[in-house]
Every structure is written in C-alpha cells, then in structure tokens.
C-alpha cells in the first residue's frame, strides 16, 4: 500500500501522469457509480423527445428513441471499461504465465511456447474477432474473453525478454543454490521484478481493448441490447451523421478521453517504472 502511494505521487509529478490519473479515476468512478450519477434511466424511451439536441435537461441530447445520451454513456462506461479491464486482465494472466514459463525454463518449453506465440501473432486478429464475436450473439463476457485470448502474445514476449535477463542475476542463482524449487523462485523472486513492465503493457492494452471493442460494436458486432457500449451508442449516430451529430460527437468524446487517459497513464507509468527511458523522456 505504501508502494502504491509512492507510485501515485511519482506519477502526479508530471503533467501527463496527472492528466492520465485524473481521467482514468473519473471514468472508473462513472462506471462504478453509474446508478447514482446518471440523471435518467438509460433504457427508458421517451418518444416525444426523440432525437432532441443538447439542452439543459438533456446535456448531451437524446437518441432516436428519446433516451438520454449522457445516462447511456455513463452506463456504457461499465460495458466499455469493463470489457477493457476484463480482457486486459485475462491477457496479463495468460501472457505472464507463458512469458514466465518460456523465459525461466528455456530449452524446449521456450521453443514450443514461442512458436505458439509467433503463430498466434500471425493471426489477423480483427478478422477473427469479427467472425467469433459476429457469429455468436456476444455477451459482455464472451467479447472480453475473446479479446483477451487474442491479445496476450505481446505481453508474453515482453515478460519472456525480461525474465531471461533476470534469471542470470546473482540473487536468482543464490536462490537456486539454496535449493528452492523453480516454481518458488519464479513466482517469488522473478515475477515481482517483471511486474513493472507487466503493469505498463496492461495499462496500454486496456486502451487498445476499449478501442477494438468500440470498433466491433460500431460495426454492429459487439454487445447486444439492452447492454450498450460506447461503440453501440455511436452506431446510432451513423444513420443521420449531421442531423443527430450530438450522438456521434459525445460518444466519440467518451472513447477518446478514456483512451487518452489510459494511454497517458501507461506512458507515465513507463517513465516512472522503467529506468531505461528515464533520460529519453523529458
């Protein structure tokens, strides 16, 4: 907990770190407190107020069914950010496990695992997503799992690279000499030293996942009603881009701001956690 406080205060020192922290905290707050914060019921239709532009009672206007856009966006944060966090979490678990095993055990395990990673990296990810998510009737869970299952390879590569360096360190050799089991060494002495890189990759991955999910939903392949992600909401603005501009603009801003938040946070975390880039970033 003390480390966490230290990390936050380090991040807070740079402008980009501060903006990143604030944006991410804001969106997490919106997602968690959606029922308290949203002014209207996000699924309640009001046909008299169909497609009405922003006003004081409906700050971001209403959609084609008269639903309040702001409330829909606040509830949409649960879906979009939930999928982003969930899929990134899955990718981190899979990627760290594979990277740790490959880098620590080396030998045949390494060769086989990295062959699989290369193979999966060669998969046209978006197309597979379009097929798997598009052919099913995707729930939030399915979308998050498929996204995560197709995105762990980069993390595995990063973790493996670091683990290969760390396993040659004297403290690892000492632990081996003391007769600790490989599993024990890997989890207690190697993994904590890779955690910095994992946190950075994971934060940047959350942004990427939100973006991919939004693209899928925008094309009509994502989560199905009554759930709505930001991409789903934007999809409605497509029918009449100028006549109902506030739908696309406000949903787009939600996506952009959240992505800026996660990307800035990821970049700043890298500056703070990775000593190599210390002089590269000013």
């Amino acid at each position: 907990m003390n480390n966490f406080k230290k990390l936050i205060s380090k991040l807070w020192k740079s402008t980009s770190g501060r903006i990143g922290l604030i944006l991410v905290a804001l969106f997490l707050l919106l997602a968690l407190g959606a029922p308290l914060l949203s002014p209207y019921d996000p699924v309640k239709q009001n046909l008299i107020l169909r497609s009405s532009p922003p006003s004081f009672s409906h700050l971001f206007g209403t959609d084609l069914f008269g639903r309040d856009i702001l409330s829909r966006l606040i509830y949409g944060a649960r879906v979009s950010i939930g999928i982003g966090l969930g899929s990134a979490f899955l990718a981190v678990i899979l990627g760290s496990a594979v990277g740790l095993a490959a880098g620590f055990l080396r030998g045949r395990t390494d060769t086989v695992l990295m062959r699989i990673v290369d193979l999966l990296l060669g998969f046209p990810k978006f197309f597979i997503l379009l097929l798997v998510v598009g052919l099913g009737s995707p729930s939030i869970w399915l979308t998050a799992s498929v996204l995560g299952a197709l995105s762990w390879m980069e993390i595995a590569r990063v973790v493996r690279g670091e683990v290969i360096l760390i396993r040659e360190m004297n403290y690892v050799k000492a632990a081996t000499a003391l007769g600790l089991s490989p599993m024990n060494i890997a989890l207690r002495y190697v993994l904590p030293n890779v955690s910095g890189s994992i946190i950075v990759s994971a934060t940047l991955l959350i942004g990427t996942m939100i973006l991919i999910e939004a693209s899928l939903s925008y094309l009509g392949f994502g989560v199905q009603p009554p759930d709505a992600s930001w991409g789903t909401i934007m999809n409605q603005g497509r029918i009449d881009p100028l006549g109902t501009w506030w739908i696309s603009v406000s949903a787009g801003l939600a996506i952009i701001l959240s992505l800026i938040g996660f990307n800035l946070l990821g970049d700043s975390l890298r500056d703070v956690l990775d000593p190599r880039t210390e002089n590269a970033q000013s």
Binding site: L131, G207, L242, S282
Partner: protein, 325 residues
C-alpha cells in the same frame, strides 16, 4: 535474398494451414445458420433441408473440411458464395484491389506524417513545439478511425460538399476521360486516406520520437558532434539511420492493424473493398466467402512479416539473413 524469401514462405505454410483450418472450424461451430436468410418461419422444414443439402452442409464437419481443402489446393476452387452464387474467389479478387489501394496510400501518408512529426519532435525535445506535436500525436492515437471518418464525412462531404463521401467513383465515371477517371477516383479516396492515415501516423510518430530521442543522446552522436560534423549530417546520416531500424520491424507487423483499419474506413465510406465483403459475409454466415477472405488475411500478415525482415536486413548490414539458420 531470394532463397531466403522462398524458405521463409515455405516455413510460413504451417501457420497458413493451421490458421485457416482453425478458422474453418471456428466459423462452423459458432452459432448461426447460413440457411436462415432464405427462410421465413412459415416455410416447410423440407425447404431448409434442401438448401442445407445444396450447400453441402449436411455432411459431417471433417468431411466438409476435407472437401473444401481438396478443392482449394487442387483447383483453387473456394466454392460459390451462398449469397449470390458467384465464385467466392472472384468476390474477393474484385474487392481486394480497392483495399490494397486504400491501405498502401494510407500507409504512405501515415508513415510520412509520423516520420516527419516524430523526428521534428525529437529534435525539439522538451520545447513547446515538442509538447504540441506529442499532444497532437496522442490525440490521434486515441481517436477511433470510425469517429474521425464520420466527423470528416459530416464536415467535408455533407456540410461543405467539397468532396464525395461514399463509393469509389461517381455515377458519370464512365463518361470521363482517362485523367478525369483518375481524378474521380482520387477525389473519392481523399477522405478515406486522410482518416486511415491520420489514425496510423501516431503509431509511427510516437515510436520514431522515442527512438530518435534515445539515439540522439547516445555516445556516437555526441562524438560525431565533437568531431565537428554539420548538424544536418549528424541528424540525418547518423541519427535517423539508426532510429529508423526499429521502425521497419514495426511497419511489417502493423499490416494486420492497417487491414482492420481499412475494413472500418471502407464501411464508413461505402467503398467496395474487403471490409464490406467481410462484414456482409460474417453477418450472412457466407462460409465460402469467409474462408476465401481469411486465406487472404493470413497471407497478408505473412507477407507483412517477411517484408519487415527483408527491410531490416537491407537497412542494417549487420543482419545477414542469408545464413541466419
């Protein structure tokens, strides 16, 4: 180099085989029935059975797979589209040129913009100019291509009417002269290329900036400066050359992202490329077209990786790819 390329392509065959086979089973096991689009609830089950029979969907899955694979390998026959009976391979070949054109123009625009802004930003590191460019890159890095596309479409096509916002050519295209036709295509491609290029540029720009900053701080640059070489020579001959190396490998591996970006942009601007074909095929469970498209997608990724390796070897003489194994 040629021998290496051929060997690389041969070693990529398992990836292609495994990936395409996996796709075959994934799409068959996913829910949804290709016959749905031809049926209404009032029709007799006999009609459904007849259509299933006609498409060869009543055989066991492994048998269907073997039949499909045999036809593809021996006759280059991907089967006929369920939607309109056209050869699936022809459907793809008709659409592919538009996607390739859109992707390559956008890649060119994106790389140039990314390179210039990244290098310039690195040279001015720490100044207000640097911060402005970095923020610009971060903004477009975080903008979804479909959002940017929609905004550009709304402003420049619908509101101002400066540029066409859908299709690849005008209705009077056939009556234009040769150069008129080219101009017609070009005007239809401005907004799509702008959309895809602006959203890919930051990927390269951010990368070039950090790699250039690192190189400019390294010892050999300091010593080059100390030897009294002109700043231009230091930056371009020493700095840029070394900073570009990692960019080449990023370029090759960014092909899939470019491809998926093109899919979205094509849908927004109603271009007749692979995007439209893939989305329609996925929605309609048009198995033959999906499979033909997936073969193309896998090959695109494999070629992208190969080009990255070759480009890397050309740019860095230390890498001898001929005797790497």
């Amino acid at each position: 180099m040629l021998a290496y390329s051929i060997r690389r392509l041969i070693t990529a065959l398992p990836t292609l085989f495994f990936g395409v086979s996996l796709t075959f089973f994934i799409i068959r096991l996913a829910p949804g029935d290709p016959t749905d689009r031809f049926l209404t609830p009032s029709m007799s089950p006999k009609i459904k059975a007849a259509i299933t029979e006609k498409f060869g969907l009543n055989e066991p899955l492994p048998v269907q797979y073997m039949t499909w694979a045999k036809n593809v390998v021996l006759n280059f026959d991907f089967g006929k589209s369920f939607a309109n009976g056209r050869e699936a391979s022809q459907v793809i070949l008709d659409a592919l040129p538009y996607t390739l054109l859109l992707s390559s123009l956008s890649l060119l625009f994106g790389v140039l913009l990314g390179l210039i802004s990244g290098v310039y930003s690195a040279l001015k590191a720490g100044t207000r100019t640097d911060r402005a460019i970095t923020s610009f890159l971060l903004f477009f890095y975080s903008v979804p291509s479909f959002w940017l596309g929609l905004i550009l479409l709304g402003i420049f096509s619908i509101e101002l009417g400066w540029l066409p916002g859908s299709q690849i050519s005008s209705i009077f295209h056939e009556r234009l002269s040769f150069f008129g036709k080219i101009g017609d295509y070009a005007s239809h491609l401005v907004l799509p290329v702008l959309t895809l290029g602006l959203t890919t540029a930051p990927v390269y720009g951010r990368f070039v900036r950090s790699s250039m900053v690192e190189v400019l701080n390294s010892d050999f640059i300091v010593s080059a400066r100390a030897r009294g070489l002109s700043e231009r020579k230091v930056v371009f001959n020493y700095g840029l050359r070394n900073a570009l190396l990692p960019l080449i490998s990023i370029l090759g591996t960014s092909f899939p992202a470019l491809f998926s970006g093109a899919v979205i942009v094509e849908v927004i601007y109603s271009l007749p490329g692979m995007g439209r074909v893939m989305v329609d095929a996925a929605l309609g469970r048009d198995y033959p077209v999906i499979m033909a498209a997936s073969v193309v997608a896998f090959i695109a990724v494999i070629i992208g990786n190969l080009l990255a390796d070759i480009g890397y070897a050309v740019a860095d003489p230390r890498v001898r790819i001929g005797d790497s194994s």
